[in-house]
């Protein structure tokens, strides 16, 4: 389940974790987030984006390989004006696995 962001102990067997963002839905937002990861040399493994039908927002799932620097990644994301909320979902890998299954099926 979703939980507020909190630093987790390092677990070597699981380098990836998932961040779920609520962002403003406009054409520059993805650039802002992708740009942040590339210019700060944060590792981004996968991205899923879906518009929120009810509001001018989108939901974004980021699979990040930055367990050791997660708090730095989160606080940098929180500084982006178009990022409205950042949540940490340590068990969120599921959505990527199911998407991968759907693509390969």
């Amino acid at each position: 389940m979703l939980q507020p962001y909190k630093e987790l102990p390092d677990t070597a067997e699981r380098p990836n974790t998932v961040l779920q963002l609520t962002v403003r839905n406009h054409s520059g937002t993805l650039s802002h987030i992708a740009g942040l990861f590339s210019r700060r040399a944060f590792n981004l493994e996968a991205v899923l984006v879906l518009p929120d039908a009810q509001a001018n927002t989108s939901r974004m799932w980021l699979k990040v390989a930055e367990r050791n620097r997660l708090s730095q990644v989160v606080s940098q994301l929180q500084k982006l004006e178009d990022v409205l909320m950042v949540e940490h979902d340590p068990d969120g890998d599921d959505i990527f696995e199911r998407t991968a299954e759907a693509i390969t099926a």
Partner: protein, 591 residues
């Protein structure tokens, strides 16, 4: 067209219409902007046509968009509020990038407005089209590509809010030409934009921090640019060091928070800091970081920085906490209000043993300032300029040896007196920033310390300076080399000097006069005559250039080898006969 507008003809008649360009100008006026600076071009012409009609906003014509960006920065750095620069699309925007990146690295509030090709032409490689949104994205706090005139009513005030809130920074607004000419009815103007307030940190955290400070035996304050940008912070820091006998090192950006003459001020730390600062930081048991970010030029090899110290890190930007060095207590807050809340929790420890130890380090390893009484030496020209200018002058610099010499010995007495490109280290900053400073503080003299390398990067702004007839005194230290490059090649590249000679140079006094700037050269003059020339240059308000030849062999000392630990600083008396120093190539590889 917004359906609310189209629905009623009577509304239309009652509400005057404005073009997008007029909306921008109107909001700038309401925001209290008195001067904007920049250069026009095709895609910005509707904006310039609207600006022509403003009675409240004056335009200062820069001779290069980068110059315009730095003029606005000069105003921002003096006033502390977001100032505005303008450029057209394409090359106008790309020329502006360096000045905006510089503002981002030094957390300077700025609003950059550019024209863009009309929306229907975006993406077609139109004339003077460049992806300004994409280019400005990584070097701004936030950026906008405006899609309609109505959006401007939100975007422009929002840009001012973002630029000034929290950790300040530049915001870029890209406005397509069709948005500038689109007319809409404006029923109500947006409220004046004010910066967000920052909550005071939780009491429990402050109590823990206070307990750490009260228990510390050898605390040191580490002051950065955040202590300048936080309104009223310097006064509180001055009161705190006095009351608790605390000593403070300062980053390049934090100079002036303490008066240089204050015995608690230890001067600049880092690559060109006095060696006693390294010993003191090696010994401190509590580093109290106030609006600073552990920049590599300040910390040296960060793993060996303050090895005995616990760290209390006060910074308004939480992403600076633990970024480079773990903080035992991380306080996200405005410096002034955090210190206000902390103050009643602090005990009055005098820590005289530590003060004595600090005094010993200062006596053993003072900052050496050879020939400071000789006005044609590096330290001497800085000192002599100060004596000619007096304590009220504002000081800007370019980037290089002259910048470090000035940082080391210029007597600073207040914040917003010292304007220098710290994070980005941009040669070409000094002259346009001085123009901006003089526009913002017309009652003060502005000194621009520069070098024969740096001055050429924005030399065209001499025309702006003369046109505005501003009280800017350019002091040009000319050693006919790119000084810091030459110095690093001397120290770390086996004295193999390459691409750092500037022997082919203009006659700088003649060049200044060609622009209409009175100029003096101090070359081959006696100390007495040099002082007289300086006094003459400062006597009459208005532009002047003082050319001071210096020896290319002069170096900024001490110097920490890049990538090395601060305690390994090289000084005048370090034995460097074995060249290159051990590990120099490794050090050089680390920036």
């Amino acid at each position: 067209m917004n359906p609310e507008q189209a629905s009623s003809d009577t509304d239309k008649e009652m509400s005057p219409t404005y073009s997008g360009a007029e909306i921008i100008v109107k909001i700038l006026e309401r925001q209290g902007i008195e001067i904007v600076t920049g250069m026009p071009g095709g895609a910005a012409l509707p904006f310039y046509d609207a600006l022509r009609c403003s009675e409240k906003v004056r335009h200062v014509l820069a001779r290069h968009e980068q110059g315009g960006g730095f003029i606005a920065q000069g105003m921002s750095r003096v006033l502390g509020t977001p100032q505005v620069c303008i450029a057209t699309s394409g090359p106008g925007a790309t020329n502006l990038l360096t000045a905006v990146a510089d503002a981002q690295l030094d957390s300077i509030p700025l609003v950059a407005i550019t024209g863009q090709v009309p929306q229907q032409m975006i993406g077609t490689d139109a004339f003077q089209e460049v992806d300004t949104y994409g280019l400005s994205l990584p070097i701004t706090k936030h950026n906008f590509l405006v899609r309609s005139a109505r959006e401007l009513l939100f975007v422009v005030p929002e840009a001012f809010r973002i630029a000034a809130s929290g950790r300040p920074g530049p915001v870029w607004i890209d406005v397509p030409k069709d948005v500038q000419v689109e007319r809409i009815a404006v029923e109500e103007w947006p409220a004046l934009s004010v910066p967000d307030t920052t909550p005071v940190p939780p009491l429990q955290l402050l109590e823990t921090a206070a307990a750490m400070i009260n228990a510390a035996e050898r605390p040191i304050l580490y002051l950065g640019g955040g202590a300048v940008s936080s309104v009223g912070a310097a006064e509180k820091i001055r009161a705190l060091v006095e009351r608790s006998n605390l000593h403070a090192v300062s980053t390049l950006m934090g100079l002036g928070v303490l008066d240089s003459e204050d015995p608690h001020a230890l001067g600049m730390l880092g690559m060109h800091g006095a060696r006693y600062t390294h010993s003191i930081l090696d010994r401190t048991d509590l580093l109290i970081v106030v609006g600073a970010r552990f920049d590599d030029r300040a910390t040296g090899k960060v793993a060996e920085f303050c090895p005995q110290a616990n760290v209390i890190h006060i910074d308004i930007d939480p992403s600076e906490h633990h970024k480079l060095k773990h903080a035992h207590i991380a306080i996200a807050g405005d410096v002034a209000s955090t210190l206000d809340a902390l103050d009643p929790l602090l005990q009055n420890h005098q820590r005289n043993d530590w003060a004595d130890e600090i005094a010993q380090y200062r006596a053993q390893m003072p900052l050496l300032t050879p020939n400071i009484d000789k006005p044609t030496s590096p330290y001497g020209i800085i000192r002599a300029t100060f004596e000619a200018a007096g304590p009220n002058a504002i000081v800007t610099t370019d980037v290089g040896q002259h910048q470090m010499w000035a940082a080391q010995v210029y007597p600073f007495n207040r914040t917003r007196q010292w304007l220098t490109s710290g994070g980005l280290g941009t040669m070409g900053f000094g002259l346009p920033a001085a123009i901006g400073a003089a526009l913002a503080a017309p009652d003060k003299a502005v000194i621009c310390f520069t070098g024969d390398g740096s001055i050429l990067l924005n030399i065209q702004e001499l025309a702006t300076l003369v046109e505005e007839n501003l009280n800017v005194k350019i002091v040009l230290l000319d050693n006919a080399v790119l000084g810091l490059v030459h110095q690093q090649q001397s120290m770390f590249y086996g004295a193999n000097h390459f691409a750092s000679s500037l022997q082919q140079a203009p006659d700088f006094t003649a060049l200044a006069r060609a622009f209409g700037v009175p100029a003096w050269s101090l070359g081959n003059l006696s100390a007495e005559t040099a002082h007289e020339h300086l006094a003459e240059a400062f006597a009459a308000p208005g532009p002047a250039l003082i050319h001071c030849p210096i020896d290319a062999a002069e170096q900024v000392m001490p110097m920490v080898p890049p990538g090395g630990a601060n305690r390994d600083a090289i000084d005048y008396d370090t034995d460097t006969s074995e060249t290159p120093p051990q590990g120099a190539r490794d050090h050089a590889a680390a920036v």
